[in-house]
């Protein structure tokens, strides 16, 4: 057990300033990645890969679709009480 006062210790992610730096650098990276698309030459296998920002859109939409379908379709079907098998 740690002494009481250690609970007051501010860790990295508890500080608003460091969160702010993180958030801004993340946003900046997003913008950079969106922009990079127009400076590279893609070698694509399928026509859909040539759409602008294909990977960005696919990742975002895929992620949201995955999470929401797991939440609203799969979970109601399979969720049981913790002691279901006991």
């Amino acid at each position: 057990m740690k002494p009481e006062n250690s609970e007051d210790k501010k860790y990295f992610f508890d500080k608003p300033a460091s969160m702010k730096i993180l958030a801004w650098s993340f946003l900046l990276s997003l913008v950079l990645l969106l922009a990079l698309e127009f400076f590279i030459h893609k070698h694509t296998y399928f026509p859909s890969e040539e759409w602008p920002e294909f990977y960005c859109v696919f990742a975002f939409v895929g992620f949201v679709a995955l999470v929401l379908s797991a939440k609203y379709i799969l979970r109601p079907l399979v969720k049981r009480r913790e002691d279901y098998y006991d």
Binding site: I40, L66, V67, L74, R75, V78, K79, R80
Partner: protein, 591 residues
Amino acid sequence: MTEVLPPAAIFIIGGLLVPLIKGKWKSAYMLLIPVVGFINLINIPEGTHWVVEFMEYDLIFGKVDRLSLLFGYIFHLISFIAILYAIHVKDDVQNVAGLVYAGSALGVVFAGDLFSFFVFWEMLTVASIFLIWARRTKAAQGAGYRYLLVHAAGGLCLLAGIVLYVNQTGSIEFGYIGLNGLATLLIFLGFGLNCAWPLLHPWLTDAYPEATITGTVFLSAFTTKCAVYALARAFPGTEALIWIGAIMTAFPIFYAVIENNLRRVLSYSLINQVGFMVCGIGIGTQMAINGAVSHAVNDILFKALLFMSMGAVMYRNNNKINCTALGGLYRTMPLTCICCIIGAASISAVPLFSGFVSKSMVMSAAADGHMQIIWFILLFASVGVLEHAGIKIPFFAFFGHDSGLRPKEAPLHMLLAMGIAAFFCIFNGSFPSYLYSLLPYPVEYVPYTVPHVVGQTQLIFFAALAFILLTLSGMSPAEMRAVNVDADWFYRKGSGLFYRVMDISMNGLTRVADRVIVGELTGSICRISQRWPEVLCLGIMIPLWSITGVKGKELEGKIERTRVALQTHTSPIGISAAIATIFLVLIYLLM
């Protein structure tokens, strides 16, 4: 061949000797086994070694080629890491089981014939079961029994296939088999069960999270990868595997989203990653097989790393492993947190981490084969990996809501083990040429091209953006304590139905049998067998006596004495023999 030993022998014999060594030396001894094993391994030349004649067949304990060697190397490395991680474990059951399990895996990989292959394959199950039971909880006991039953069924399926196959071909050599006919289908399914194919998979997600903290690290490395090896050896280019693999990558990610137990999330993730390998083996081109095998190597490392980091969290937090119970641990377990993030980055295929250089090979092979639907499924599954393994695992354990837990950092030996795995995750990702040089086929694939790096980074960052927005808007599924039913429902709940059906049918049969056979039939036979000698005997004797002039009281007396003698089996030998003879003659005439 006198100076080198079969790799399996070093681990199995070495493992069985562990209980004889006491005190401090035990740790050193156990760590020495994979080291000695590795030195032994690198001195084994390619080719066929240790051929033992057995009942007209040749058992081969050393089929050494580039495919088996690579699995051999990684099995030695992960054994060393897992033993180091488990060095605090005093329980010899686990220590022996871990080493014998690793040895069996090496036996499978270097087996050149189907008999020794099968024996080592079954030893995998037997040894690994103790890593589950050693947790000594009711849940672990139940999961262990289910694991044993499922694997026993799979093993029998494989054995039936092997017997049929050997009968058909007359050869027990283990090489390319290919899918044609019943025998090969049974072998295929036997491999598939250990590979955790869809619907055959629940043994994995059921049992691995219930195993001991250190046991799960061993488990994650061997059983499924041995199955991947077996498929790569016997069924490369089998089209069914492409679809099986693609489904394996896609369906577990949905379960992983809503699962609360973080080690179970990793178990689903394990199936998802093995799916990429199975898919690659199904595609079957040189690049696809290279991709599958290199991904197996990388997955062994990063999956073990993730299981180790979650194990360290359990170890320091009184076995807590649910999302609902954890959170904010980065404050006091920063090094474990960093190791976990390295594992998460590797599995998510972040550039410079190991997944990036191997998973993409399978995807490129799919694209080269113009398999558009497969490619999209794999890409979607890659996004899913980011969700559960890339973000969920580190986030819910080390960040997220502050659980108020302030545990100590993981012990030194665990940190070292995680550090070694983390080193190889980064090394294989940043300098892939070393890994590529060990692959079965020459590698022409170049992972680090600008479009690949940019595309993959876009994928990762925008998936992360989706996660952040979903979490901030409260639309992410809430973590809750619950069971999510999976295909194991059929035998976990179905077993109750089976029990009742068996109760009614089998116990009913017993009752009927009791009434008819015990109650009535036996009595009748008894009565008949007593009555018939009497009838036979007296039927012959009474006329004889009458002819010889025996009458009245004397006749009645004779009849009575004969009857008593026959009932109490005290008749003179002559009469018994005569009756037996008559009986036999009768039977002879009747037949």
